[in-house]
C-alpha cells in the first residue's frame, strides 16, 4: 500500500517536473536574494513574459502536428516593420489588424509551400521554413533599408501600442491579460474543436489520420496559419514593448519558442502536448532568466542555460517511451 502511494507520488513528480522545477527555483532564489519576491521584480517578470508566450503558443500547434517552424524569426520581423509603417496611412487600428492578418497569411504561405512540395519529415520542414524565414527577413530589410522604425515618429496616434506595452490593469500588464484570453481560447480550440483534434491526430500518426478521412494537407496548413497568427501577435507585443521595429527584431524567437514548448513537455515527435504545459515552460524559462539576473549572472550565461536546457530536454524527451 505504501509502495503504491510512493509510486503515485513519484508519478506526480514525473508528470509535473516543470511545475516542481518552478517551485524549487522560486524558493531557492527567494532565499538567496530576498528582493526576488518584491513587487517590483514580480511586475518585471510579468512584463518580461512579453512576446515569447505568443510565439511559444503558436509553435506548440506546429509541434503537436508533428512539424517545426523556423520562419517565425522572419514573420515577427516583417510584421513588426510593416505595422509601424502602416500606422500613418491606415491609422493604428488598421495597422494592428493588417499586421496580425499578415502574420496569419505568412504562416499559411509556409503551409502552402510545404504541402505543395510534399515536405513531411522534420528535416525537410526545418530547412524550407528556414529558407522562408530568410525571404521574410529580406523583405523586411528591403522595406526598412536597415533603418530602425520608431513608433514615436508616426504622425498619427499609436495609443493602442503604448497601452499594450506599458499600461497595467492592477499589477497585471495589459498585454498579459490579452495573452491569457488568447491562451484560454487556443486551449479550447486545441481540445474542443474538430480542427484542434485533427492537428493532434495528425501529429500522432499521419497515415492513420489520413485513412480515417482527415485532410492531412489542410490540417497542416491550419497549424502553420495558427503559428503565423500567433507570431503576428508576438510581433505586435514586441513592438509595443520596445516601441521600435527592425528587420531583425525576431532573431532567436524560434529557438526560444521551441525551447519553451519542449521544456513544457510537448514531445517533438508530435501528437501529445498542451498549450498550458507550454506556458509552464515559458514561465520556467523566464523565471530562470530572471533568477540569473537577480543573482548577477550575465545575459550570456542565460543563453548557455537555454541551450543546455534545450539539449537536455530533447534528450530526455527522446528517452521517454510513448
Amino acid at each position: 500500500m505504501t509502495k503504491t502511494k510512493q509510486n503515485s507520488v513519484l508519478e506526480f513528480f514525473k508528470q509535473n517536473l516543470v511545475l516542481c522545477g518552478i517551485v524549487v527555483l522560486i524558493i531557492v532564489t527567494a532565499i538567496a536574494e530576498p528582493k526576488f519576491l518584491g513587487a517590483a521584480n514580480l511586475n518585471n517578470v510579468l512584463r518580461q513574459l512579453g512576446p515569447l508566450p505568443f510565439a511559444a503558443l503558436g509553435m506548440t500547434f506546429v509541434i503537436i502536428a508533428g512539424f517545426i517552424d523556423l520562419s517565425i524569426v522572419g514573420i515577427i520581423s516583417l510584421v513588426g516593420v510593416i505595422t509601424v509603417g502602416l500606422i500613418d496611412p491606415l491609422g493604428q487600428g488598421g495597422a494592428l489588424l493588417v499586421g496580425i492578418l499578415l502574420g496569419a497569411f505568412l504562416g499559411w504561405l509556409n503551409g502552402l509551400v510545404l504541402t505543395t512540395c510534399g515536405a513531411m519529415t522534420q528535416a525537410e520542414v526545418l530547412f524550407i521554413t528556414y529558407g522562408m524565414s530568410s525571404i521574410y527577413m529580406a523583405l523586411a530589410l528591403i522595406y526598412t533599408q536597415s533603418e530602425t522604425l520608431r513608433l514615436a515618429k508616426s504622425e498619427k496616434s499609436y495609443s493602442i501600442f503604448t497601452t499594450l506595452g506599458s499600461k497595467n490593469l492592477g499589477i497585471i500588464p495589459v498585454v498579459l491579460i490579452l495573452f491569457i484570453v488568447i491562451l484560454v481560447l487556443m486551449h479550447l480550440f486545441l481540445r474542443k474543436t474538430i480542427w484542434g483534434r485533427a492537428i493532434s491526430l495528425l501529429g500522432g500518426n499521419k497515415d492513420a489520420a489520413y485513412l480515417v478521412g482527415f485532410n492531412v494537407k489542410s490540417t497542416m496548413r491550419l497549424a502553420y496559419t495558427i503559428n503565423g497568427l500567433m507570431s503576428g501577435l508576438a510581433s505586435i507585443a514586441l513592438l509595443s514593448r520596445v516601441t521600435t521595429a527592425t528587420a531583425t527584431s525576431g532573431t532567436n524567437y524560434e529557438t526560444n519558442a521551441i525551447l519553451c514548448v519542449v521544456v513544457g513537455g510537448t514531445t517533438l515527435k508530435g501528437g501529445k502536448g498542451s498549450v498550458l504545459r507550454t506556458m509552464l515552460g515559458v514561465v520556467l524559462i523566464t523565471l530562470l532568466g530572471n533568477c540569473m539576473n537577480m543573482l548577477g549572472l550575465s545575459t550570456y550565461m542565460q543563453t548557455v542555460m537555454r541551450g543546455t536546457v534545450l539539449v537536455v530536454a530533447i534528450w530526455l524527451d527522446n528517452r521517454k517511451e510513448l
Partner: protein, 492 residues
C-alpha cells in the same frame, strides 16, 4: 578439411515461440552438400522464421543447428555469413546508393586493397555466374533480377556453402527466371547447396532435388521431388483439420451494392468485381499479389490510373479516404500499428476519431457524446481495457484490433474493408471478430476481407476472389471450392 558429415546443415527439433504463438514446432531438416532443397508452405507456415533463425536474426528457443559439422549455439548475421551461410531475402539486403562492386564487399573495403581491387574482384565473381552487370552501376538503378545477381555474387564472395533464397522469383520475369535456373544449377555443380523457398510449385519441380513441406510451424513431409505430384504437394500445404474455430457462415447476400470497373494502377490490371449487400467477399492471393493495393485504390488512399465505382446504382468518385468515408466505406488496414492506431493516444480517442465530425456542432466536439461512444464500443466489442483513457499501445493485439473495428462500427458503414483482420491475434479474439463480421452483414452491411489464412476465408466468406500478379484470376464459392483449387489459381 576432412568431411565429418554428409550434410552441410542439420537442424534438429527447433522451436520458436512468439507471444501467444508457436511459430516453429520441432522442425528438423537435413540438407546434403550440393543439392537444391525446396521448402514450400503457405503464408505464415514458418518458413521465414526458420530462415531468420538460421541467419542469426532471431534466437531459437529450443533445438540444435549443426552447420558444416559445427554445432552452432548463437550466431549473428555477420558470423553466419563468415561461416558460409548466406540468405537472399525478398527485400534485398543491399545499399541502393552504392555501386554493385562495393555492395558485394560491403564492410570489407580494404580486403581487396581499395576501390580498384574491389571492383576487380567483384567483376570476377559476377563473371563466374555469367552476369554482365557493370560493377560501377548503382544498385538502386538495377532491376530486381540484377539485384539478385548481386546478392548471389555477394554470397559467393563469402565462399558460401549454403545459400538460402527466400521467394527468389517473386519479382522476376520469365526470362530472368530461366537465367536464375541456370545459375542455381551452376552453384549446385560447384558443391554449393541452395535452399529454395517458393510458393511457385513449377519452379520447385524444375530446380529442386528434395522438398520439405511446412504448415503451421511444423514439417509435414520431406521427399525427393520425383516422388511428389503437384496435387500431393498442394494438399499437404493446405490440408489442415478444420476445427470448430469459426461461427456458422452468414447467409444474407442481397442485391448488388458496389460495382468496380476497370481499376488500373501500376500494379493492378483491369480489376472488375461486384459486392452485394450482406455479403462477405474474400480476397485471396499470395503476399504481394496486389490484394491490399486493390482495396487501397478503391478506398482512395492510393492514386489510380482510372476506374469506375458504382455505389447503389450511382457512379461515385472517391479520390481520397475522406470521400470514401462519406460514401459509407470503412477500412481496417493491414498494419495496425503503422496505419491504424495512434499508439500514444487513449483507447477512447482511437475509437472516436472516425466519428468526430458527427459529434461536431459549429466546430465544437461534444466531449460527453464522445465519451458515450467510447464506452459504448468498449462495451459492445468487449474491449479489455482498464479505462477508456488508457493508452491504446498498452492493449493486446486483439483488443487493439477491436478498437479499430469499433471506430468504424459507430458509423454503421455500408462497406467494411478488413485487411488481415486477425493477424497476430489470439484465438479467442479471432472468434469474436468473426462473430462481429456476421453481425455486420446481418445488419445489411457488406464486408471485403483480405486474409492470408485460407481456412479463415473459406469458412467466413460467401464468395472468394483470387488475385495473382495484380489480376483477378479466379472466383469461387467457398462452400464448394476446395483450398487446393484456390491455391492453384493463386500460385498462377
Amino acid at each position: 578439411m576432412e568431411k565429418t558429415t554428409d550434410y552441410i546443415l542439420e537442424v534438429k527439433d527447433i522451436c520458436k515461440y512468439f507471444p501467444g504463438v508457436k511459430a516453429l514446432d520441432h522442425v528438423s531438416l537435413s540438407i546434403p552438400f550440393g543439392v537444391v532443397y525446396g521448402i514450400v508452405g503457405e503464408n505464415g507456415a514458418g518458413k521465414s522464421t526458420l530462415m531468420k533463425i538460421l541467419s542469426g536474426v532471431y534466437e531459437k528457443d529450443e533445438g540444435t543447428v549443426i552447420f558444416n559439422g559445427e554445432t552452432i549455439e548463437h550466431t549473428t548475421p555477420i558470423q553466419a555469413l563468415r561461416r558460409g551461410l548466406s540468405i537472399i531475402y525478398q527485400e534485398f539486403n543491399l545499399v541502393n546508393t552504392m555501386t554493385v562492386g562495393e555492395n558485394i564487399f560491403l564492410g570489407r573495403f580494404w580486403e581487396n586493397k581499395g576501390m580498384r581491387g574491389t571492383h576487380k574482384k567483384a567483376r570476377e565473381l559476377l563473371d563466374s555466374i555469367g552476369s554482365t552487370i557493370s560493377t560501377y552501376s548503382l544498385v538502386g538503378d538495377l532491376s530486381a533480377s540484377e539485384m539478385q545477381m548481386v546478392e548471389i555474387a555477394k554470397a559467393l564472395s563469402f565462399d558460401s556453402k549454403l545459400i538460402i533464397m527466400d521467394e527468389p522469383s517473386s519479382s522476376l520475369t520469365s526470362e530472368e527466371l530461366k537465367k536464375l535456373g541456370i545459375i542455381i544449377n551452376q552453384l549446385r555443380d560447384r558443391g554449393v547447396s541452395v535452399i529454395y523457398i517458393s510458393h511457385k510449385l513449377d519452379e520447385i519441380f524444375e530446380y529442386c532435388n528434395i522438398v520439405t513441406i511446412m504448415r503451421d510451424g511444423c514439417v509435414i513431409d520431406t521427399k525427393p521431388v520425383e516422388e511428389l505430384t503437384r496435387s500431393d504437394m498442394i494438399a499437404k500445404m493446405v490440408g489442415r483439420t478444420i476445427e470448430n474455430e469459426y461461427p456458422p457462415r452468414a447467409h444474407f447476400v442481397g442485391e448488388p451494392l458496389l460495382e468496380v470497373r476497370n481499376l488500373n494502377t501500376h500494379k493492378l490490371h483491369d480489376i472488375n468485381f461486384t459486392l452485394h449487400k450482406g455479403e462477405i467477399l474474400g480476397l485471396v492471393g499470395l503476399v504481394g499479389a496486389g490484394r491490399t493495393e486493390i482495396i487501397r485504390a478503391l478506398y482512395g488512399a492510393d492514386k489510380v490510373k482510372g476506374h469506375e465505382v458504382i455505389l447503389e446504382g450511382k457512379p461515385v468518385k472517391i479520390p481520397t479516404p475522406k470521400q470514401a468515408k462519406q460514401a459509407g466505406m470503412a477500412l481496417v488496414p493491414e498494419d495496425r500499428k503503422r496505419e491504424g492506431l495512434i499508439l500514444p493516444f487513449s483507447v477512447e480517442s482511437n475509437i472516436t476519431m472516425a466519428s468526430l465530425e458527427d459529434l461536431t456542432h459549429m466546430g465544437i466536439v461534444d466531449s460527453s457524446k464522445e465519451a458515450d461512444i467510447g464506452k459504448r464500443q468498449i462495451e459492445a466489442l468487449a474491449i479489455k481495457t482498464p479505462t477508456p483513457e488508457t493508452k491504446v499501445v498498452t492493449l493486446s493485439g486483439g483488443n487493439q484490433q477491436k478498437c479499430i473495428v469499433g471506430r468504424w462500427m459507430e458509423r454503421n458503414p455500408k462497406i467494411l474493408i478488413l485487411d488481415e483482420p486477425t493477424r497476430g491475434i489470439d484465438v479467442g479474439a479471432k472468434f469474436e471478430i468473426y462473430v462481429l463480421m456476421n453481425k455486420i452483414v446481418e445488419a445489411g452491411g457488406a464486408i471485403i476481407m483480405i486474409s492470408s489464412e485460407l481456412p479463415e476465408v473459406l469458412n467466413m466468406s460467401n464468395r472468394v476472389l483470387v488475385i495473382c500478379d495484380g489480376r483477378i484470376t479466379g472466383e469461387f464459392n467457398p462452400e464448394e471450392a476446395s483450398a487446393t483449387d484456390i491455391m492453384d489459381k493463386a500460385i498462377g
